[in-house]
Structures are given as structure tokens and as C-alpha cells.
């Protein structure tokens, strides 16, 4: 701090001095201090894990995703309890206090820390929470005891059980996430009721973790008994499908721009029989279940963008501190200070919204969509700014910023494109704030 200012502060009355926060404390610590103790501890544990276990693998996993094996890290994260945080002890490792607070606060802290180290590896760990979402949110105790608890137990032993979430189909992407589209979706994945269970047919695409999954929570349109045409918004039903079930297989793994350490794969269902116990929740409640899973997951997806953006800002800061020009570090030049300030303020704004939306007792559609879309947009801005600040160095892979740009670009697309999230925000606050009627009817 400027020394004249320090002297001046010392001359203030004791109360005035006390009221003046002039401590030298890193941004990360400052924000951590505002959290309750149980979340402070988690945040530190996530950061340690990310720095020690994720960061060293990041560049190579991005460069050669086809040879990156996510299972060792899934096992390690599982042993530390990071893969079973949707239920409290003894069923999982959710902090008890979270029962009274926002349900996904720990998850958003985890998403930021993991993805600050690597968006792709972060996603490969976080996709599991998304896959597990329906098992909890169906609100069906037998489902929790039959599926969620044993999966948590296995992961806590380090015995990996990866669950992925499957709604998207070749002809229905946004339509699986948006009210108006759902009514008219051109779906292909169907379920037919048979003796003792259901037969599933169809195809899913872009499923994060699909190539390595042990289970998938698959959404299918349940055929109607009277033969009339079934629809996503009225007949959607969720099933848990185990790897190894006859007719269930992963297909092509997409080659993508970023978050490359996590595969996005096709899943095929050819006359897959699942017993009735694999039904998640109740028949034809899948549309609400899907929408609520998205309410729980879009906040964490916002936090993924936040983490990646923070990683980019850290890379740019490191570059500006280490590069010396004309006997001065780059960071000593005013234009560089302004650029860094813009980036870090964007990061703070993202964190502000993500934390604020996660503080709501239950994740809510409009708030979750706001987090997801805002952070997707700002995260891309921060990563581009970081690349720009670094000039030619910005497009070199080993500097980190270009990877962040590629990684965070995905956040405007998955969990519903940003446009679909803006529409979800409007839908959510239509009756209360934005207008009368139902926007889905146009």
C-alpha cells in the first residue's frame, strides 16, 4: 500500500482504523472468509485436490484425450467423498449444514476449484453429480436406497461407479430443455412397457462421460397404452441403465474444441430390457424431473465457467508478473493493470451471481439459468481477454489461456444453449415479474 496512506491510516482514531479494512489478503482468501466454516473447509480441500491432482494432468489430457484415463482420478475423488455429496452421512458426504442451506453450495465450490485447474478433467468428475441428480430429485426413497446409496458407498471405497445423464438426441437438443420445444420434439428414444419392466430403444448424443460410464440415467418417452402419440412434456420417463445390459452400448466419441479430457459420446439403446426396479421415480414424471435436474445443475455449470475464467485470469496474471520489458515487469504498465482488473472483476461478478443463486434454499429455474448463461458469456470474455493480454503468447498451448478459451466456449452450449437459458429465465419470472400468461404458448 502507498506509504503515505498507511501513515494516514495510523493517525485515524482506533475505531476509524478498525473500520478500515487495509489488510493484505488474496482475493481467494477474502471470499473464502465470507463462507460458513463447513464450506470454508470444503473449499480448501477442493483447491488442494485440484492443484495436486488435476493441474499436473491438464495439458496432456487436453492434448491426447483419447489416451487420458479418467478412472484413477475418479477413484481418488470418490475416496475423498467428492463423488457422493448429494446425500448426507451415512448415505453420502453432503455437509449436514447444507440441509438447511443451499443444496448445491458445496458442488459449486467444487466446480470452480476443479475447473480452475482444468475444465475438461473437472467436467469428467462433475458429470457424475449430474447423472446422479435424477436418483435424488425423483424423491423416491426406494430409488435412493436401491441405487444412490450403493453407488455412493462404492465410490467412497474408491471403487468407481460413474453415472452419466442422457437426455440429448440427434434431432432434439434444445427441445429436451425448453417447454415449447418439448411439446413438439422429434425424439427417437422410447420406452415400451413389457412384462416385468420396460424395453428401451433409441439413441443419445453428446453424453459427457458416456464412454466410461457404469450407469446412465436415460430419459425416454414412454409409449401410451392407447397408442396415441406420446410427447416429451407429458410422457418423459427416467430409467437407470447399467453398462453391460444387452443392447446398451457407447458409440462414437466426439472430437471437440475444448473440455477435451471429458468424452462426449453417443449412447445406443437397441431393445434394452430394464426391470421395473430401474424406473427412476414414477412413470411420465420425467419432464419435471429433467427440468429440476437442470435447475440443480445449471448453477454448477455456471461455476465451471467461473473456474475456467479464474484459471485464465491466473495465467494472464502470471504472464504479466513474469514477463519483463524495458527492465519492468509487464504488470507495472498501466494498460496491463487495467486489463487484469477487468478480468478479475468479471471473475468476482461471476462468483457473486453463482454464490447468490446457490444461497437459495432450493435451486430455482430462473436463478440457475441466470448463473449458467451469465458465466458462460463472461467466462468466454475473460478467457479472450487473457489471450489478448498475452499477445502472441496467448495462442500457445502451454500458456493455458487458449485452452481456457476453448474450454469455456462450451459453457454457452451445454445444459441448454444460453439462448434457451435466457428463455428459461423469462419463463421462470413471467408470472411474478415479467408479464402475464405463459410464454411457452408464444
Amino acid at each position: 500500500m502507498q506509504s503515505n496512506l498507511s501513515h494516514s491510516i495510523q493517525r485515524l482514531e482506533p475505531l476509524g482504523r478498525w473500520l478500515y479494512d487495509h489488510s493484505v489478503e488474496a482475493l481467494w482468501e477474502r471470499d473464502t472468509r465470507t463462507l460458513p466454516r463447513y464450506l470454508r473447509q470444503r473449499r480448501r480441500a477442493y483447491r488442494r485436490f485440484a492443484q495436486e491432482r488435476i493441474a499436473p494432468l491438464a495439458l496432456e489430457a487436453d492434448r491426447s484425450p483419447e489416451v487420458y484415463d479418467p478412472r484413477p482420478l475418479l477413484a481418488e475423488a470418490g475416496r475423498r467423498g467428492f463423488q457422493s455429496e448429494l446425500l448426507p452421512w451415512p448415505l453420502g458426504r453432503m455437509p449436514y449444514r447444507a440441509l438447511l442451506d443451499g443444496k448445491v453450495f458445496a458442488v459449486i465450490l467444487k466446480a470452480e476449484e476443479f475447473c480452475a485447474a482444468c475444465g475438461g478433467i473437472g467436467l469428467s468428475l462433475l458429470a457424475h453429480d449430474l447423472g446422479m441428480g435424477p436418483l435424488l430429485l425423483a424423491g423416491h426413497l426406494p430409488t435412493i436406497l436401491r441405487w444412490q446409496w450403493p453407488i455412493n458407498r462404492a465410490n467412497l471405497r474408491g471403487d468407481v461407479r460413474l453415472v452419466v445423464y442422457a437426455i440429448t438426441e440427434p434431432g432434439a437438443g434444445s427441445d429436451m430443455e425448453e417447454s415449447a420445444g418439448a411439446a413438439r420434439a422429434r425424439y427417437t428414444t422410447t420406452a415400451r412397457k413389457v412384462n416385468g419392466g420396460y424395453v428401451l430403444n433409441g439413441q443419445k448424443v453428446f453424453i459427457s462421460g458416456g464412454a466410461h460410464c457404469d450407469y446412465a440415467t436415460v430419459f425416454a418417452v414412454l409409449e401410451r397404452e392407447d397408442g396415441s402419440p406420446a410427447r416429451v412434456d407429458t410422457d418423459y420417463t427416467c430409467f437407470i441403465v447399467e453398462r453391460g445390459r444387452e443392447g446398451f452400448r457407447a458409440g462414437r466419441r466426439e472430437r471437440k474444441l475444448g473440455q477435451r479430457a471429458c468424452d462426449a459420446s453417443q449412447l445406443f439403446l437397441d431393445d434394452v430390457f430394464v426391470p421395473a426396479r430401474n424406473l427412476v421415480g414414477t412413470e411420465r414424471s420425467g419432464w419435471a424431473l429433467n427440468r429440476n435436474v437442470l435447475n440443480y445443475s445449471r448453477g454448477p455449470v455456471g461455476a465451471i465457467a467461473l473456474g475456467i475464467a479464474r484459471g485464465a485470469a491466473e495465467s494472464a496474471t502470471r504472464f504479466a508478473r513474469e514477463t519483463r520489458l524495458n527492465n519492468k515487469p509487464l504488470v507495472a504498465y498501466q494498460e496491463v493493470q487495467l486489463a487484469l482488473a477487468e478480468m478479475w472483476i468479471d471473475v468476482l461478478a461471476m462468483r457473486g451471481l453463482v454464490w447468490q443463486s446457490a444461497r437459495h434454499f432450493l435451486p430455482q429455474q430462473g436463478m440457475a439459468a441466470a448463473s449458467k448463461a451469465f458465466c458462460g458469456e463472461l467466462g468466454f470474455r475473460v478467457a479472450n481477454r487473457a489471450m489478448e493480454l498475452m499477445g502472441d503468447h496467448g495462442y500457445l498451448a502451454d500458456q493455458g489461456a487458449e485452452k481456457a478459451m476453448r474450454d469455456v466456449r462450451l459453457n454457452q452450449i451445454y445444459e441448454g444453449t444460453n439462448q434457451i437459458n435466457y428463455l428459461a429465465f423469462v419463463e421462470s419470472f413471467w408470472e411474478s415479474d415479467l408479464g402475464p400468461g405463459d410464454p411457452a404458448r408464444g
Partner: protein, 404 residues
């Protein structure tokens, strides 16, 4: 300048060749296509006189991108060529661009039989060249980080000349056989400008090291390297230009570099928009073709505006002969155009990618490559804030810019 009919013919030829680039380079799998085919395509481009050539005997010397025609006829044809090539592959366009810049860096007489540089460095037809004119960070003609410079220095020791130092992010069509380097020279070269000198050197010279830059975001069909020189012996006949003449040529190279980058970005953005329109006219979501959704129309409308901004910026002085353009005007124009890459071309490509949803993020649809390519141009040979400061310096006519 081309008349309308000539322009149509050139465009048709370029579009045909762009189709070949796509068929040859990008038909197979892989993020950037089959880069092993770039040399063959460059040979084809050379046969069409698209690639500048150091040898005055080759037609490309005059007609290629940044060839000698620019001095009399303006930059329009080069900008048009780069934009159209970039519609197929920005990296290939960057390779053609880089060869042109290196040829532009050679003074008009270089390579002619009997001229000084030819004695030490025969410039054969088809020879790949590189121009070393960029420092580790910043802009060679800006004084933001001290004096003007590229990081290369020519020093005189006991009557002998040595080139030392480094220049970075040198772009070339392939591993270059010879380099045109811009360096700060010893007192003897400082007679009328602050010590600039340009010189030609073979890339195999003792003490000269070219290191590929390593994995980068895009433009991978072009070659990029860092140059390090440790006491590379230079003879007097390798010196191409000194003082004001060298500095003026450097200004032209720098200006054409930024303009060429903007033209490449324009090509990428135009192509992204075309792909987006085709996709949106075929994809159903929400009960209709997605081109019917306002959300998609807004993305495409913004991209159309972005393309229009780039087009009008690039068209501004495209007809003016390079020889008659003041360095300050050229650099001001080029700076603004290059800044538009980050703001307009990148946004256009990103918006178009967005209209493809998840498919836009995947290699198969080409948009992911276009985003990588155009993002690489964001900071190529100048961080945008440094360009803004330099533009301001030029406009205010202060400091170094004042000398022009």
C-alpha cells in the same frame, strides 16, 4: 486495380482453388485436416501466381499476395485473395500471406542479377522465405517498452558485423530457407533514422537457430518459429536497406501484416456465416426451422453486421498504391482493421458457432476450427491494447510516429 469483370474472373478462379484446398486439405478427419498436403497446394497456388516469389523472374514476384504490384496498384487484390483463401482454410491463407510479407520486405532491387544480396543469397524461384520483424512482446515500431526494435541487433566488432538477439513468432509458409531480418544497427547505419537495418540471411547460417513455437490454437497450416541469433556473421552484401528506407519497409510489412490478418479473419467470418445460414435452414427445434427463431436471427444479424464492419474497414484505402501511402496512414488503417478482428470477426464466428448448438463445438462441422483460427489472430503480432496505444500515438503524431 481490377475492373469489375477482371475482379469477377479472379474471384471465380480463387473460389475454384478454395474448393480444391477444401477437398485436398480438409476432406479427411482431424482437427486441421491433412497438413502434409500443404506443400503441394502451395505449389499449385504458385502456379496460379497467388504466392509471392523472391525471384523477379517468377510471375508471383509481381502478381502474388503482397507482390510488387501492390506498390502501384494498391492492396485490394491481395486482401481479396487472402479473404477468399481463408474461406477455405485460414491457416493456408496465413501461409500465403507470410510468404508475401517476406517478399515485400525485400527491397525492389533485391535478387536481381548483379545486385548485392544476390551474391551472398541467391533468391531462387519458389524459395520459401520468412520475415523476422516481431519482438517477444509489443510492436516493433512502438516505443511503449523502450526504443523501437525487434529484439535483433547488428553489432560491429573489429570491422566485422554480427547479428545477435531474437525475434519471435515468425510466420512462414513452411520452414524458410532464408530470412529477411529487421534489426537495430550500429552507428554506421543510423545516418537518417534510428539505426534500422534490414538484411538477408540463410536459415542454415552458423549461430542462427529457428525453433518451432510448439502447439498453438490455430492457423496450423502455416509454419511459425522463434528466431535466435548468436553472433551470426553478416557480410556487407547481405545488408538490404538501412536507416529510413529500412524503417519505411518495416512499416509497410507491419501494415500489410495486420491488414492481411484482418482479411483472413474476414474470410473466416464470411464462411462461418454461410455455414450457419445453411445449418439454420435445415435444423428443426422448437417446432420449426431454427432460422425462424429470433434468437438465431439475432446471432446471425450480429454476425452480418460484424462482417460488414470488417469489409468497410478493409475497403477504406484498398485502392491506394502502397508506394504513395504515408506509413502513418497505412499503419493507422492497418491497426484499426486488425483491432476489428478481435471485436468483430471473432464475435461473428462465435455467434455462428452458437447457431449450430452442440454440433458447432465438434470438429466435423468446421466451426470449431474457424473459431480456433480466428482466435489466433486476436493477438498475432500485437496485443490489442498495444495496438490501441500505438494507434493513439500515431493519431496524436507524437514520439516516434512524429518523425513521419
Amino acid at each position: 486495380m481490377l475492373d469489375a469483370e477482371e475482379r469477377r474472373a479472379v474471384e471465380a478462379m480463387l473460389r475454384r482453388f478454395a474448393g480444391r484446398i477444401e477437398a485436398e486439405l480438409l476432406a479427411g478427419e482431424g482437427a486441421d485436416g491433412d497438413l502434409g498436403r500443404v506443400p503441394r497446394l502451395l505449389t499449385e497456388a504458385r502456379a496460379l501466381d497467388l504466392v509471392a516469389d523472391p525471384s523477379p523472374q517468377a510471375p508471383g514476384h509481381e502478381l502474388g499476395v503482397w507482390g510488387s504490384h501492390c506498390h502501384e496498384e494498391g492492396l485490394g487484390v491481395s486482401l481479396l485473395t487472402l479473404a477468399l483463401l481463408a474461406e477455405a482454410c485460414a491457416g493456408f491463407a496465413a501461409a500465403v500471406h507470410a510468404q508475401g510479407l517476406a517478399c515485400l520486405a525485400l527491397p525492389a532491387s533485391a535478387g536481381r542479377a548483379g545486385d548485392a544480396p544476390a551474391q551472398s543469397l541467391p533468391l531462387e524461384p519458389g524459395m520459401l522465405l520468412g520475415a523476422a520483424f516481431t519482438p517477444y512482446y509489443g510492436i516493433p515500431l512502438s516505443t511503449r517498452f523502450g526504443q523501437e526494435g525487434t529484439g535483433l541487433h547488428l553489432v560491429e566488432e573489429r570491422g566485422k558485423l554480427f547479428l545477435s538477439g531474437s525475434s519471435h513468432f515468425l510466420l512462414a509458409a513452411g520452414p524458410p530457407r532464408a530470412l529477411v531480418c529487421f534489426a537495430r544497427g550500429p552507428g554506421a547505419f543510423a545516418e537518417d533514422a534510428p539505426g534500422w537495418v534490414s538484411l538477408a540471411v540463410g536459415s542454415g547460417a552458423a549461430g542462427l537457430d529457428l525453433q518451432e513455437v510448439g502447439q498453438r490454437t490455430g492457423l496450423r497450416a502455416a509454419h511459425q518459429a522463434h528466431l535466435r541469433c548468436e553472433r551470426v556473421a553478416i557480410s556487407g552484401d547481405q545488408i538490404l536497406q538501412t536507416g529510413k528506407a529500412a524503417r519505411r519497409t518495416l512499416a509497410q510489412v507491419l501494415g500489410c501484416d495486420w491488414l492481411g490478418q484482418a482479411a483472413i479473419a474476414l474470410g473466416v467470418a464470411r464462411r462461418a456465416l454461410r455455414d450457419s445460414r445453411a445449418y439454420a435452414a435445415d435444423r428443426y427445434q422448437g417446432g420449426r426451422l431454427i432460422e425462424g427463431h429470433a434468437a438465431v436471427q439475432l446471432l446471425q444479424g450480429t454476425a452480418e453486421y460484424d462482417v460488414a464492419v470488417l469489409e468497410s474497414l478493409l475497403g477504406r484505402h484498398a485502392a491506394q498504391p502502397l508506394a504513395s501511402m504515408q506509413p502513418r496512414d497505412l499503419l493507422g488503417w492497418a491497426c484499426a482493421a486488425r483491432l476489428a478482428v478481435g471485436e468483430h470477426a471473432c464475435r461473428a464466428v462465435s455467434n455462428c458457432l452458437q447457431t449450430l448448438g452442440g454440433y458447432g463445438y465438434m470438429e466435423d462441422y468446421g466451426l470449431e476450427k474457424r473459431l480456433r483460427d480466428v482466435s489466433t489472430l486476436r493477438g498475432l503480432h500485437g496485443a490489442p491494447d498495444q495496438l490501441r496505444l500505438y494507434l493513439n500515438q500515431l493519431r496524436r503524431g507524437i514520439g516516434v510516429a512524429d518523425a513521419w
